[in-house]
């Protein structure tokens, strides 16, 4: 069952997960946190989320591998937002067929807007093929 205003963060940097936890509390978003793709899939097997904020370079299972596993699931309707420090984040997002991307470092207002769009207009974001440029 889908949980309203919930975001799964897949990010191996603990300080960043902690920061996002604080931001989510401020924005009234329920956060789920995984340090890699393996943990993220385990969370998704028990919980439905409104959006996924996905780092790409991680140990164990990286963003590319996670996206491939995620797409094979029956329920893969939650939009993926690529969250990366790569030189070309848009290219990373296209590689995995993500719905949107945001570059690190980010402005809080941009992230808040993006998550609101993803969570609020869930169906329209997930069906959009164009990559949303944020920064």
């Amino acid at each position: 069952m889908s949980r309203a205003r919930s975001v799964l963060v897949v990010e191996d940097e603990a300080p960043l997960r902690q920061l996002l936890g604080e931001l989510f509390r401020e924005w009234n978003i329920t956060g789920y946190f995984a340090k890699d793709g393996v943990e993220a899939l385990a969370i998704l097997s028990e919980t439905a989320v409104s959006a996924i904020l996905l780092d790409m370079r991680m140990p164990e299972m990286d963003g590319w591998q996670f996206a491939a596993h995620y797409r094979r699931r029956i329920d893969c309707s939650a939009p993926i937002i690529v969250f990366t420090a790569a030189t070309d984040p848009e290219a990373r997002a296209r590689e995995i067929g993500a719905d949107a991307w945001i570059a690190k470092p980010f402005n809080l207002a941009d992230l808040a807007d993006l998550l609101e769009t993803a969570i609020g207009g869930h169906s329209s974001v997930s069906s959009a093929s164009a990559v949303t440029k944020i920064q």
């Binding site: 191996d12 940097e13 300080p15 960043l16 902690q18 920061l19 996002l20 604080e22 931001l23 401020e26 370079r57 991680m58 140990p59 164990e60 990286d62 420090a85 790569a86 030189t87 690190k104 470092p105 980010f106 402005n107 809080l108």
Partner: protein
Amino acid sequence: MQICSRVHGNLTRKSLVSGSSEPVPLPVGLARPPALSAARLGTANFSATQLGKLVQGVIHLTEPSLSYLGVPELVEELEERIRAVLGVDTATILLMDESGTNLVAYAAKGLEEEVEQRVTVPVGKGFAGRIAAERRPLFLPQVDERVVVNPLLIAKGLKALLGIPLVAEGDVIGVLHVGSLTPREFKADELTLLEAVSDRIAAAILSSRRLEAAERAIQARDDFLSTAAHELKTPITTLKGYAQLMQHRLAANPETPVEEILSAVGAINVAASKIQSLIEQILDVARIERGGLNLAPVELDLSALVRDTVEAHFQPHADRIELDLEPGAVVCADPLRAEQVAINLVDNAVRHAAGSQIVVSICRDEDSGVRLRVKDDGPGIPEDERPHLFDRLTQGSSATKGLGLGLHITKQIAELHGGSASATFPREGGSVFEVTFPSARR
């Protein structure tokens, strides 16, 4: 024109044309340096027509050397032209390997199998090997197994071979040989032509190789800059995020609890330290490269230093780090650099062998001084990455983070102290990294 008469004389001797399977040495005086003057080329006995053809041949054969082709394209073009100009059936270039002890078939026309099978000829052995060792052209009027080590030359049905060393900046970088499927001799002007172009071919190959090496170095540097930017952006994201969060909270509520502010400032401080550490690594490599990494060695107890370092920096991983430190392991080392080595080795194990048990040990060794060993039972290092572990700008799997400079810096620090750094990979799995420091004289 002594050179001229020697060339002409050799090539017109009966024994050079048929009746012998022994390679016939040809004079080398013509080939280096390759001057286009008639005298240096030994063309005094040539007719005007021969000379004209020779000059045309030189121009035609060396034209590709002036273009900016990569080594494979250059060699292919040269071989095609040599084959056409000399009317031979095969043209092969073998290049010296890195060890300088073997020639490896690099490109061939009419003898493509030689390249496909990566035929290797030891220097000094066989036809091409002898040319490289003796640094002079050889003519083989009768190809048989007593002389050639490469069975492909016989299987192909080659009847005659003419080969010439490729010399650049005084070093033999390869051998060029041409072959005929029918018995034939090579005329003086043909050898002269081949000799005249051989050094230019060698120089062109050397230039192309250098260009390729420079391009690889530029690519490696670009990749590094991209990795460095990526690595710096991660802590900057945390730092900027907390700064914005606090700005927002304090603007909304000037009475924001001190605990919240302190927590954010603490996270900002950690992120700033991470940025500082990444920048220090980059600067260390720059210092090492220009020989400016200065040490301030003192006598210190390495066991005590390592214990303090692990406790201070790896507390979150304490449950999987075991210490086995021999007391009294006194070394002569720069304390900051020794601490850096310990951090690099343990951090390497923590990051690359996620979840594995790590044993950090120190023991005194009669021969090598004091040995710091970090052993993990993680997945180990892929075999193809092992030879480059301590190289600059090298990083293992893309899934792991970091600049990939830690082990390089570690090795340089160890060697500057008169010690060493090494890695071994036990059959049962995992990795063992060791650094030695010279014992302090007591």
